[in-house]
């Protein structure tokens, strides 16, 4: 139980930083709101989504994108902890070895919950509504948070690998931005050129977005829900393994 205690102490430490850094707070609240509003009112009229209002099409997609980016604080935070010697301090304490990474990724779940609430509130004001059962919506929200958690591990690995916190942030954005746009998140892939459509169809983000859309607004999904969970768990396992290995060697300098 002391291991869990250590994780909670560190998660609390990571969450405290957020309201004290207005730029971070903005990225969790104002930025998703801005994205929802821009897409609904600027692009919404130009994108045709047969059988669905654009806002209903958009919300699952934009939530997935926001969850994917939610872990960037982990990248910045770990990178700073390494360069400022805090990791050395933690490692010299008689605490659980995995607590630093677990505390980081757990804190991201907290900030992702905040982003999710803010976005759904704005989405609902802009006309979004759930059209599925409470059970489906709950499963959808669970999938979103799990997906965000998976990407926190991706960012943990990036943060430990990059040379500086600025580099970690840049790498994260360069990798995740195209991945989320070249998917079914914002437009139906069948409007894309065929080579890009092939990419979008194979993109796990598309699978997760289609699963979320099914669970939130009832679009047909086939096997997407199952594979969305498979992808999410797979990403978590692979990148948690990579990040933990990197954490061990990064400080054994």
């Amino acid at each position: 139980m002391t291991a869990l205690g250590d994780v909670l102490v560190l998660a609390q430490r990571n969450l405290r930083r957020i309201p004290r850094n207005p730029d971070l707070l903005i990225s969790f609240t104002v930025q998703p709101v801005m994205f929802v509003l821009l897409f609904v009112y600027v692009f919404g009229g130009a994108i045709s989504t047969p059988g669905l209002d654009y806002v209903d099409f958009l919300m699952p997609g934009i939530i997935v994108q926001t969850m994917a980016f939610g872990g960037f604080v982990t990248a910045i935070g770990l990178s700073e902890d390494l360069s400022k010697g805090l990791i050395d301090r933690f490692r010299s304490l008689p605490m659980s070895r995995g607590a630093v990474l677990a505390g980081r990724t757990l804190a991201d779940v907290g900030t992702n919950v905040v982003s999710l609430i803010v976005m759904l509130t704005v989405g609902i004001i802009a006309g979004f509504s759930f059209s599925t059962s409470v059970l489906d919506v709950t499963a959808g929200i669970f999938l979103m948070l799990l997906f965000g958690y998976a990407f926190s591990w991706v960012f943990a690995w990036v943060g430990l690998t990059a040379s500086s916190s600025e580099a970690a942030q840049a790498i994260g954005f360069i990798a995740v931005f195209p991945l989320t746009f070249a998917s079914s998140a914002f437009v139906p892939p069948d409007t894309m050129p065929s080579w890009l459509q092939a990419f979008a169809d194979a993109n796990p983000i598309t699978t997760v977005v289609d699963a979320a859309r099914h669970l939130f607004v009832g679009t047909p999904a086939g096997t997407d829900v199952f594979f969305a969970f498979v992808w999410t768990i797979g990403i978590t396992v692979v990148f948690a393994t990579l990040a933990i290995a990197k954490y061990r060697s990064a400080i054994s300098k």
Binding site: R17, D88, R89, S92, L93, P94
Partner: protein
Amino acid sequence: MIEASGLGKAFGDVQALADVDLSASEGTVLGLLGPNGAGKTTAVRILTTLLKPDTGSARVAGHDVVRDATELRADIGLAGQYAAVDENLTGEENLTMVGRLYHLGRAAARNRSAELLGRFDLEDASGRLVKTYSGGMRRRLDLAAALVIRPAVVFLDEPTTGLDPRSRLALWETIEDLVAEGTTVLLTTQYLDEADRLADRIAVLDHGGVIAEGTSDELKGQVGGERLEVRLEDREDCEKAVAVLAELGSERPAFEDDVVRAPIADRRGTIAEAVRRLDAADVGIDDIALRRPTLDDVFLSLTGHAAEEEETEEA
């Protein structure tokens, strides 16, 4: 409290530490003195379990640094040159967090935090975010974090590097108080005056090896006793001056850069006598002084280079 023998560590082709023996008994300060890149930080990292040695073994507070790493961590404190504190927390939150990670209860961690903030003169700043602290305040908080559990052994890796003279002096006094209470301290420094003032025993490190070990006085003894130094007004007088001072000193004086240096056996009356004799020989004196050898001289004579000039990165 600290016993290390044959410690070695290589990073790729670079041998950061080779066959290093160290020891410190309870309640004393062991100073690791050396330039950047000498291996001081590597030694501290091995002794604090952050790094596994390639060769050799070490025990700290009775625990083996490899086999009993977890138990060892519960008996030591580490403070470093980076002031490893969280800038986004207040001073109070930093210390409470460290206390809880040492598995003190919530209330105990808070009490200890308040106690240390008082002791380190950070009470007024306890509720402020650390990013608003000065460099000296951060170092004090960092040191306080190392003392949360009243550790038996404290490791201070270049604790005053980059501090202004006043903060440096204040930190020295804090370290002296700590030792007076019975804590064993391992201190690394590239400042000779710091080792001279704080350390009971000093190990001089260069290129990953211990090149000398002993008390400050023993080390100074290795480079000889006191010297009379006379700076001449006119370097033309140097032969005359050397001849005069040779009668006073215990060995033949050396002349370099307008200064005659004469080793002497007995300091009493030496300056007055030297002035009289030089005056009688019509040698103009710009400056005259008796000088005890400093650790600078020790370092220079042991390594052939000065301690604080090397600019290589610490491994």
